[in-house]
Amino acid sequence: MANDNKQTKQNNNREAGGLTAAERYKIPPQDMPEQAPEQRARNFEEVATGFTEEQARKEALRCLGCKNAPCVKGCPVRIRIKDFIAEIAQGNYKKSLEIIKENSLLPAVCGRVCPQENQCQEQCTVGIKFKDIAKSVSIGRLERFVADLDVDDKDTPKVGAPTDRKVAIIGSGPGGIVAAADTRRAGHDVTIFEAFHKPGGVMVYGIPEFRLPKSIVQKEIDTLTRMGVKIVPNFVVGKTSTIEQLLKEDGFDAVYIGVGAGLPKFMNIEGESFVGVYSANEYLTRANLMRAYKFGAGADTPIARSKKAAVIGGGNVAMDAARMAVRLGAEKVYLIYRRTEKEMPARVEEVHHAKQEGVEFHLLQNPKRIIGDENCRVKAIECLRYKLGEPDASGRQRPVAIAGSEFQIEVDCVIVAVGNIPNPLIQQTSPELKFNEEGCIIVDEKGRTSMEAVYAGGDIVTGAATVIQAMGQGRTAAQSINEYLQQKTKIRS
């Protein structure tokens, strides 16, 4: 009996590439090809250039095709990971992409920006065997590999017969994009309203080109347009129109709210309004959306060209801002974080890249005040040293300031990246909607809000989270919207 089992297992493995588990363990993890640090620190092109076909095939062979596929439990949208990887191993890239697209609409994006080490790859049997997450199968990189091949470039997802029902999607971030695609596929008339002049949400205004090329996001937007989704930019819901107006005056039958958590937190310390102090949002929006890095070469929006910049925070946003400052020519970029590297919420890869590019980490330090010159321009930042104390509610050790440890660092620019919270615009103009204390919209497990016909997902529901989570919630909400509209049709007819 035991023998039999072993036999089938091996057969299965053979099918997926003809190797035994032991043989697979021996294949070394494939390194991601990257631009050299000193080269990329001077340009805005993508840092990681992507697996070659040979590398992808090799990496795919490292997957054991585990029966219980623990990796899938780590993926918020439950991609059939071992199946898509097996197709790569056999060179069936189109099929592989089809499998991914059953669950994720934006594989080229997620393959690049998912915090895989805390999601799918954290659970991978291979990584666990080696007691090193870095040795897990590179699921994200494989996902990116097939997505980048453009094997389905011309395919436009099929759209159902017209239902005569109108859906409004507010915000064009990852959640909004998925909700739009899924409701459109059901045949509804779908319009996306976006506050900025370009769709894509954080993927275009926040995450820099060197990590996520804008052309990739644009490709997904183009697909939406081909499917017949209407995109209305420069439209701020809560200002240009309220949700109630969309439903009552403009003829929409259902609304998805995916406006993200776009409001920057500041530290509320002395000197924070001096010239040269930015929120990371402002810094990154100027640089990414308005292309301030091309100022003087076509772009009209200026940005501080600092010599010495301090970035405050330890998340992805802080890493992006620091690496942007490097690219904008700063000779010194200090990343100031009040805990240690272990507690940093940023992706390991981003921390690693930032260090390679010369960002100096100042750990267990936090600003006390910002010092300006007679023109209120930043000239230094005064920090306190910290030590780790008792664990707080989140289980992380609380940083405690060391009295009298003040010291100054000379800088001409300070970028504050200590978190983003929801924008109260919708809350102020939709009295029927229920919000929690953090200002997030309260929804049930189906994405329904307290207001009939109104659904929500993404960062406006969870607080600042991830692209893949927003996508997953956009999908759930779209499903609920489709069900709701179907019932509504029945009642009406």
């Binding site: 900025f196 200002k239 003087g296 200026p302 109260p424």
Partner: protein, 288 residues
């Protein structure tokens, strides 16, 4: 979604006005609110301009702007029939309008443009209105006729004395504040330095004063913080908490410093634009 310029004209040497298609904005627009426009979606800067009027029948809004740099110059070079790439709005909180009794409205330079819809709304609410308009010189005074129509009294000052009284609006304002009864409320819009000086005057006479601030903006929806000011010692975002504030609590000195943050770069940008336009012009006229 480009927005067509229906008509455009020049009000003075550097001030222009246009009616622009913005059907999505007319429904919600109220006095005191603004739009953010961009002349080019790929590389343009986003700049705020006050909604100086709306025409719901035509689905147009009126903007009035002063040519001070690259983007306002580019706008000035557009003609009727051309388009503006992006118009977002209406943004900011509307002016709080009520019957205060006697109100003094002070407009300095281009500040007359945002002041007009507010003065109109105040008049409609039953206020007695004294308007003080100021300009450097007669040739650049704008909207005099429009203000005459709605004000109970109008005082004009020019820095060089070429029209009205010679001097600054703040001097005329002090005079109006000295009267008995003094005005119940003041509205002051203009360059930051002029608002600062006027607020010093009204503070002395304890006349409550609303100012409309013109900080640098990016999104206009509260997501960047670039427009922040120090108000009563605390940070406020002009785009969502304003643009109008109690002028007696605004830190104007810091605001002026922030306005000058990109001075050098803006100059470069404007110079480049002027060179570029000259080249096109020469090419069109076959001149070199």
């Amino acid at each position: 979604m480009a927005h067509k310029i229906i008509s455009k004209s020049q009000l003075s040497e550097d001030v222009f006005t246009a009616d622009v298609e913005a059907g999505h904005i007319v429904r919600a627009a109220k006095a005191g609110q603004f739009v953010i426009i961009s002349v080019n979606n790929e590389f343009g800067e986003r700049i705020p301009l006050t909604i100086a009027g709306v025409n719901p029948q035509n689905g147009t809004i009126k903007i009035i702007w002063q040519r001070v740099g690259k983007t306002t110059a580019h706008l000035a070079d557009l003609k009727g029939g051309d388009s503006i790439a992006a118009i977002v709005g209406p943004l900011g909180r509307p002016t709080h309008i009520e019957n205060f009794g006697a109100v003094v409205c002070v407009g300095g330079g281009i500040g007359a443009a945002p002041l007009l819809p507010i003065a109109k709304a105040l008049k409609e609410a039953g206020n007695k209105i004294t308007v003080i308009l100021g300009a450097r010189s007669k040739s650049i005074l704008i909207l005099e006729d429009e203000f005459r129509k709605i004000s109970d009294e109008i005082i004009i000052t020019t820095d060089d004395g070429s029209y009205g009284r010679k001097g600054f609006v703040s001097e005329a304002l002090a005079e109006v504040c000295r009267r008995t009864p003094k005005p119940n409320q003041a509205f002051v819009i203009g360059p930051a330095i002029m608002m600062k000086v006027c607020c010093e005057v009204t503070k002395e006479f304890a006349v409550p004063t609303q100012v409309s601030l013109n900080t640098i903006m990016v999104d206009g929806t509260g997501m960047c913080g670039g427009c922040r000011i120090e108000y009563d010692g605390k940070p406020k975002f002009v785009c969502v908490d304003g643009p109008e504030f109690d002028g007696h609590k605004v830190n104007f000195d810091l605001m002026m410093k922030r306005l000058a943050a990109y001075k050098e770069m803006e100059k470069t940008s404007y110079e480049q634009y002027k060179k570029h336009v000259c080249k096109i012009y020469r090419r069109r006229t076959g001149d070199g």
